[in-house]
Symmetry: C2
Subunit: 402 residues, 2 copies
Amino acid sequence: MISLDEAQSLIYQQLGSLPVERIGILEAYERVLAEGISAPLDLPPFHRSPLDGYALKGEDTRDAAPDKPCRLKLVEKIPAGYAPRREIVPGTAARIFTGAPIPSGANTVVRQEDVREEGDQVLIFQPVEPYSNFSRSGEDVLLGEPVLHQGQLLTPACIGMLAALGIVEVPVFQRPQVGIISTGDELVAPPQPLLPGKIYNSNVYTFAGLVTRSGGLPRIYPTVVDRVALQQEALLQALRENHLVITTGGVSVGEFDVVKESIEAIGGTLLFWRIAMKPGTPAMAAQVGDKLVIGLSGNPAAATITYYLLVHPAIESLAGRKEMGLTRVQARSEDVFTKTSGQRRFLRAKAYHRDGQLWVKLTGKQNPGVLKSMIYSNALIDLPPRHSLARGEMVDVLLLPF
Amino acid sequence: MISLDEAQSLIYQQLGSLPVERIGILEAYERVLAEGISAPLDLPPFHRSPLDGYALKGEDTRDAAPDKPCRLKLVEKIPAGYAPRREIVPGTAARIFTGAPIPSGANTVVRQEDVREEGDQVLIFQPVEPYSNFSRSGEDVLLGEPVLHQGQLLTPACIGMLAALGIVEVPVFQRPQVGIISTGDELVAPPQPLLPGKIYNSNVYTFAGLVTRSGGLPRIYPTVVDRVALQQEALLQALRENHLVITTGGVSVGEFDVVKESIEAIGGTLLFWRIAMKPGTPAMAAQVGDKLVIGLSGNPAAATITYYLLVHPAIESLAGRKEMGLTRVQARSEDVFTKTSGQRRFLRAKAYHRDGQLWVKLTGKQNPGVLKSMIYSNALIDLPPRHSLARGEMVDVLLLPF
């Protein structure tokens, strides 16, 4: 048995990166940037009026007062989207609208609410500071500035930034294709009739959603019974067709747990088998050629928890993300949990904020086969070996993404 | 001008719910359940062995001791997936594997590590408590128990639960189709050449990602210049083709801000125009027939922030979700912000956990046109009117989803 940290680092060491493809920014939401992006232009691209008003030289208004307004001759009107044609010289001003370029010679914009227009003149009643209401070109982003880095997950704001910079195509890493194989004579695909001793296969459905969430493309294979010859065949096919393969079930110590044997039979090299953690102890990983197989318990909650701890960061890493894995935070426990274990234990829990403090409470039964407590869970309490949980105690918590 | 709370409730009042469709559970990830689901069977469906071992009557082992083991006759072997054929009577036991049904008559399972097999007998060296290592049928979910409620967002664990219950098709609400129209003579679609006075349209790209994240299907329309006749036409088309329409730009007070006029020209009834908040003051909403148009500022950061506050919960509500809007928490400010305003202000910020405490720091310039600070933001500080921000102060924070 190895520690979870060792298991994670053995997996990471096997993971390469995927080829790069260029895609349109409208398809790039939630993809991972394969190269850093520097700004090809200033943002804004010109000195810009942040409001509707009058562009002028601030110096012209130095002596303006309510009873002695400064009068400037209006030389043009500049709506957003149009280039000014006239330079502002002393004694002149231009009508200007939000987003329009400030004309050359002007160094400030006075709000329309603060002035009066009279014929071809504008009257200003108080001094206006030069460079107030003046959005400089490049004030948001400077030409050449690195804006997005390699490994950045493209959020809506990132996509908007790319568009603002005139970039419509970006290099992203291919999405990892992930094969999902469930094993076990007891599994029946819903909605077939449930004969005695059988249960419905649920893990592949859970995993399809999880793989999508992690940034991968799930591919589900038919369930394989506990026979080495059949498992070998299924593994070989899934390894050919995917960047990573996950199996569930058949990794325990019983005589029908043949996933390990099947992997070894196709020439796989075991990276580890059994992790000192609960639930999910019988997890394993193996290298087959240049591909990785991660074998998880068939118990639904154990499978989901070990997915989050082993597979989720592996897919994120394959997808090219720089920050991987679950966010670790500290929270105060609302609950008591007295069943200690010699192994590190992960408890299904719900984290929530109250009065600037993060709290965490258990979501129900913690048996490895119980699914219901997983539905309400958005976090895992990470309990060290031989620790129980006291009410009000600060504990380590991993936040689940979904 | 109305308050943000009033604006939000005026919008909610207009929102109906969308038709229901039945889809396969593999397509149901991140969809919203239109009807509650009760369990059509017990989970597990039978008393189940949680480990590899021997099923027996606990009473038979009452006098077992290391030097005086209890001997039971093995009557069958039950792998997972198979129905037991023999009843366990006093003096007998069955070899059993993880997940297999516990045979009738047995009330406990002893771990294989704790016993010894000798010929057709198993030797037990200490008393075994009845109903230890015994997963009762229905211990996870009971037949008839309500498991998922109407309005539930279907996470991977929910999909797995549906499969475990043998359910492969679920009623979900249709995804809201959301039309996105940008307006403004200054906008150019990337990557066209940027003539003087023009900027690249970025809002529709940001919004396409945001609408997807909120659970809607974005549909982008070509940019419309600031002319009522053209805007009318674009609005009418978008209203015909979508459940909700968002516009950006053209909602301020300048003479080229004609979105409000265009909406009124097609018979729209204004719900509000101008909200007492910064950025994003000139937001508006109108009802046109049974559809809603929400008009947002063209400034990228203002547009994104008002999207999160007005449009995101509207789409979630249309999508049938019960819990809508951003999560509000309290956090400690790492930064100072002294520029007070008479209006409620939302500051772009990054929230992070440290020592069980949620902290928040500003992500950069807060001008409504600045996009860069939005990229690094995962939260908005909600600053009341006339409030500045002091270092170490507890503030209200809205967490952004992406």
